[in-house]
Assembly symmetry: C2
Homo-oligomer: 352 residues x 2
């Protein structure tokens, strides 16, 4: 395997799939895994084999890649601006089941116009802001008003609520994390109840991520869990209190290209190969090698013991897997020290 | 233009090409532009039209993309680990002129073995560490010893010195920047002189970046300037004292997908679309909109005046252009508000 390369430890990956399946069993929640993490229909198929009922995506282009790869149920867990993109989703709805989220009346109007034009009915969820502070209308009456607007259109179907507390995922303290999700649960439950009072059921109440999924799954409020990172397990998640029960399965393999100075080695993998938005990577099973900084094409390592030789290969554990995957074209699947498969990252760069 | 998209303002881009040509005229230095920035043979050809004598790259895969796109003179300004990659460079040397850098005797041995096997002679430069603290042997005797090792091989040609002070590029104070390059110049001059004393000429003394190129060009020490970012002009460079004389030509175009909360708007372009390793982007010509954070697919904007509407398109100025380009497949070239061209980013993800 020449470097840099994106390695997937298949044993750890499959263990993660099984762990998530087992943890959700009996909770009354379904897994709708998030493809923003893996960008791959192959991995989505493996998740389906372990019980996932469908996928989330953030982008229409990601939905297209998954549909072309045989995934039959896809939620765009995000707002879609513009009728051009909406028309692509409407076209996709002829071959797979799709849904999207809105937080604005103009988006409802656009979705209805596009659905009418295509002669279909689109499923539309209302996103509520339960602490993320990004997209979403406030829970309660504003959400109910938007849902009624959806339900009133002959071209749309009210699909339920999107209720994702992204900021809670990485809260270091277990207690504070539970408290944040507890508040989100209260807001979501209240909104579901108010919708019921006006005659609107929520087929889907979706949310949760790898850092908090056990809390949402136990709440009795959510019925779809949208975790993505659990398949790979970011270094960022490993450092929080009571970390999620997954193994690191994703690595960037690099080669030492320079060791010209005492105590320092330089790898051929920089932040074009491994994302740094959530912190520097670690060197896998080498506590004596500390990554002190990444530039575009280089990782600088401080060597506390023997300096590795030029040519030696080392694995980096990414701080954040999602954007790391998005820099590569292939997963190199390895098991027992051998390459077992190459899987395309078909939705790499699919951002539109 | 659907979003996110990577826009290239062609007027600003061409002005930057002309400015660099004019600034180097009469200095006795040549421009060997760095393709790690643009990853595109099309842009390399435009640079050649404005006087660039060749290109630098960091990776063999980038060299391949440029050679396939008609660029005839390519320096890998980096160490190459492993005979597999070296053999690819040797193969490339049959159709274009190539050179590489080393900082280790084992790399000289590998390069010689691969060149012997291919029946060619490879041009090899010695990288010296003049303050970057990353790759490179110390200036002076260690560099001379490595150069002599190269010159002693019948399969290699000693190509000169690679002397790049990356850390100096973004030093905020003009004086401190000049001092850093002054020290690097002293070290480089001394090494060139010591090489001459043992009978070794330096056909190439390469280095410099967009932040310091005027200093190296005026020094009388370097003869090749390796600036890359000047074509696009990162936000990071605009903030230093006495900033380089280039215009912002590269933008990520995004659309407002959510404006559900007072004073906040959310764009459909996150750090998968615009690099954050050197700071957050700015909104072009909109000081009333302040980017407060990026997540994978979203940019959060604080609105100090009127909130933009859902569907409105805005340009982001990247903090760091090189890794931003590497996330996209196409440049959308615009002039006078119209799309004029689409240029492929052929070396996008070419990291091996």
């Amino acid at each position: 395997v020449d470097t840099p390369a994106l390695l997937l430890d298949l044993d750890a990956f499959e263990a993660n799939l099984a762990t998530m399946r087992d943890r959700l069993a009996g909770t009354g929640t379904r897994l709708r895994a998030h493809a923003k993490t893996h960008k791959s229909a192959v991995i989505a198929q493996r998740q389906a084999a372990y019980g996932a009922i469908g996928q989330c995506v953030q982008k229409v282009a990601e939905a297209e890649c998954l549909a072309w790869g045989g995934i039959g149920d896809i939620l765009v867990s995000n707002q879609i601006a513009g009728r051009t993109k909406l028309a692509r989703l409407a076209a996709l709805s002829r071959i797979v089941q799709v849904a999207l989220c809105v937080d604005d009346a103009a988006q409802v109007e656009d979705a209805a116009a596009v659905a009418a034009d295509a002669g279909i009915r689109l499923s539309v969820l209302v996103e509520i802001d339960v602490g993320m502070g990004r997209c979403g209308v406030p829970p309660g009456p504003p959400a109910v008003a938007l849902a009624q607007r959806i339900a009133a259109s002959p071209h749309l179907i009210f699909g339920g609520l999107q209720s994702y507390h992204g900021r809670a995922q990485h809260i270091p303290s277990r207690e504070a994390r539970a408290q944040a999700i507890g508040l989100a649960a209260d807001e979501t439950r209240r909104t579901v109840e108010q919708l019921r009072q006006v005659g609107l059921d929520c087929p889907v109440v979706g949310g949760a991520g790898t850092g908090t999924f056990a809390l949402e799954a136990a709440s009795g409020v959510w019925n779809e869990i949208q975790a993505g990172s659990y398949v790979f397990m970011d270094l960022g998640y490993a450092g929080i209190g009571d970390p999620p029960p997954f193994r690191h399965s994703l690595f960037v393999l690099g080669t030492v290209i320079s060791a010209a100075r005492d105590g320092v080695a330089v790898l051929d993998a920089g932040h074009k190969a491994v994302a740094v938005d959530s912190g520097l990577p670690a060197v896998w099973q080498r506590p004596d090698l500390v990554c002190t900084g990444l530039s575009d094409e280089h990782a600088n390592l401080r060597c506390e013991g023997a300096r590795p030789q030029v040519g030696q290969k080392l694995r980096l554990v990414p701080g954040h897997c999602d954007p790391t995957v998005d820099r590569h074209d292939w997963y190199v699947g390895v098991r027992n020290g051998r390459v077992e498969c190459l899987w395309p990252i078909a939705a790499r760069g699919a951002m539109a």
